[in-house]
Every structure is written in C-alpha cells, then in structure tokens.
Amino acid sequence: MKSAVIVFPGSNRERDMLSALEKITGKKPLAVWHADKELPKVDLVVLPGGFSYGDYLRTGAIAARAAIMDDVKKKAADGVHVLGVCNGFQMLCEAGLLPGILMRNEHLKFVCRHVKLEVANADTNFTRKYKKGEVWRCPVAHGDGNYFTDAETLARLEGENRVVFRYAEGTNPNGSLNDIAGIMNERGNVMGLMPHPENEIEALNGGTEGRALFESVLEAVA
C-alpha cells in the first residue's frame, strides 16, 4: 500500500504516523508538504496530529485552507482513502469533508491518557480487521476533542452507521456527543478520529490493537 502523510507547520505527530505506517505496511510513506499543490498517487492520505498553525484560530482551521487541501478533496471525491487523526480529524471537519466540529474539551483541560474504544462499525475499510463491539485500548492527547453537531446530522450519522468508534466503559475524555471518537463520510473512504492508533502499535506502547486500523486499509486496497 502506498501512503502519504501531509506535513503542516505545527504538525507534531507526523513522525509517529510515518513510522507506524512503515512498520505496518512495510513501505516508507511519503511526507507531503502543505504548500504543495498536488498529492502523489497513493492509496491512503493521512492528516496527522499536532497543532497546525498553533491551532490559534480554531483547531485545524488554517490547515484546512492550505494549498494541498484542494487536492485532498479531489482525491477524496475520487475514492482515495483519507484518514485524519486528532488535529487531522479537526482539519477534515473544518474542510467540510466530515460533518460537525471538535469543540474544546468539556473540562477545558488538555487530556493525555489511555481510553477504551468500542468499534461501532466494523464494516468499513478502516475497521474490517476489528469485530463489531470489540473494545480496545488507545491513547488520546488533545484539548479539543469534544465532538459536536446538530441533531439532524447526528441522527443521520447514527442512522447511516457512520459513527465508527465510540469511547467505551465511561472513558469519554472530553464530553463528546454520543461518546463519538471517530466518524466517516457517506462513501466510507474518509475517516477522522481523535485517538492515536499510531501510538498503539507495538509492545513498547503497552498494546498493539491500533495496528488493525491500518491493516484494515491495507487489506481494503490490496
């Protein structure tokens, strides 16, 4: 599988993502600069975590308007897989590729800890290697992960099984609506989530259940 990770000024988990992708896919992913106009031909585009542009305006807001984003939208429309993690999820929402928005955490504090994630939909190209209802451990590290959207959109997301991951067993760390941790678009090729599967892939991390997410895409595009 060929993959690319977009690097924005202030991205800071791009190296985590690059090494996770290499360890799992066995192929070195490409690092693409935010100012480029066009993405290389790849099967998976990743918007990594961090504090793009300091997240000073709204998280992900400025990055969502970077030069490269037009091509990200084009590729998404062509069916290329797009994954946004943490700040990347916030960008996808700001760019309109996913509905809703990530608001400041309920308690207003940055939170870094391991949470429990429930696979709400295992029938996606990002989760086919998980079982529905499966609960796994994954770290979060964010100040703005409090998913919010209007009632109709929420109803649609739920109705169309587009909520992919939920915080389980009372571990919702940010006040997110319906314990939402990750969602996808109608077509199912664009997903965003707040937790960091790229930091749960080897024994050193204390768990490896984040691998299945990447292996799912790997299998889907094979």
Partner: protein, 81 residues
C-alpha cells in the same frame, strides 16, 4: 482603515467555555448570572481606504477563515474616518 469582526457561536451550539465560566462565576459568588457565551473579536488593520471595498474584503475573510459559518455568526464593524 481599522475594523472589528465579532464572531459568536450560533444559538444551540455547545459552548464549553461559556458553560465553564458560568459555573466558575457562580462558585466565585456572583449571583444572577443567567448565561455566558464566549466569542472571538478580531481587530484588523486594512490598507484599503474605501469602506465598501473594505467591508466586502472583510466579509470574504470572515467567510473563508475567521468564522466557521456552520457553527458561528459574524458581524463586521468599520471605523469610518
């Protein structure tokens, strides 16, 4: 030319900061605070002299960047002079 752009969350949109401040004000012993909403204020200095052109540009900026019109309203104030 100077201008101010006021960006507030639309009604019904969750405002964790406003909520927290409401709570804190209560705890600090300020009674009768019915509601608090937190928004943003941008002070912008423009080269543009013409008010109509300036307003148009500011409107663009707000739509394109300063406000997320899905959840936020914005209002533009020009210092005419």
């Amino acid at each position: 030319m100077k201008a101010r752009i006021k960006v507030m969350l639309k009604n019904g949109v969750l405002d964790p900061q406003g909520k927290a401040i409401e709570g804190a004000l209560g705890a600090l012993g300020f009674p009768g605070v019915a509601a608090v909403r937190q928004g943003k204020l941008f002070e912008v200095e423009l080269a543009e002299k013409d008010p109509t052109k300036a307003r148009a540009a500011l409107d663009e900026m707000s739509k394109k960047l300063l406000a997320n019109t899905v959840i936020e309203n914005y209002a533009i104030e020009l210092d005419e002079k």
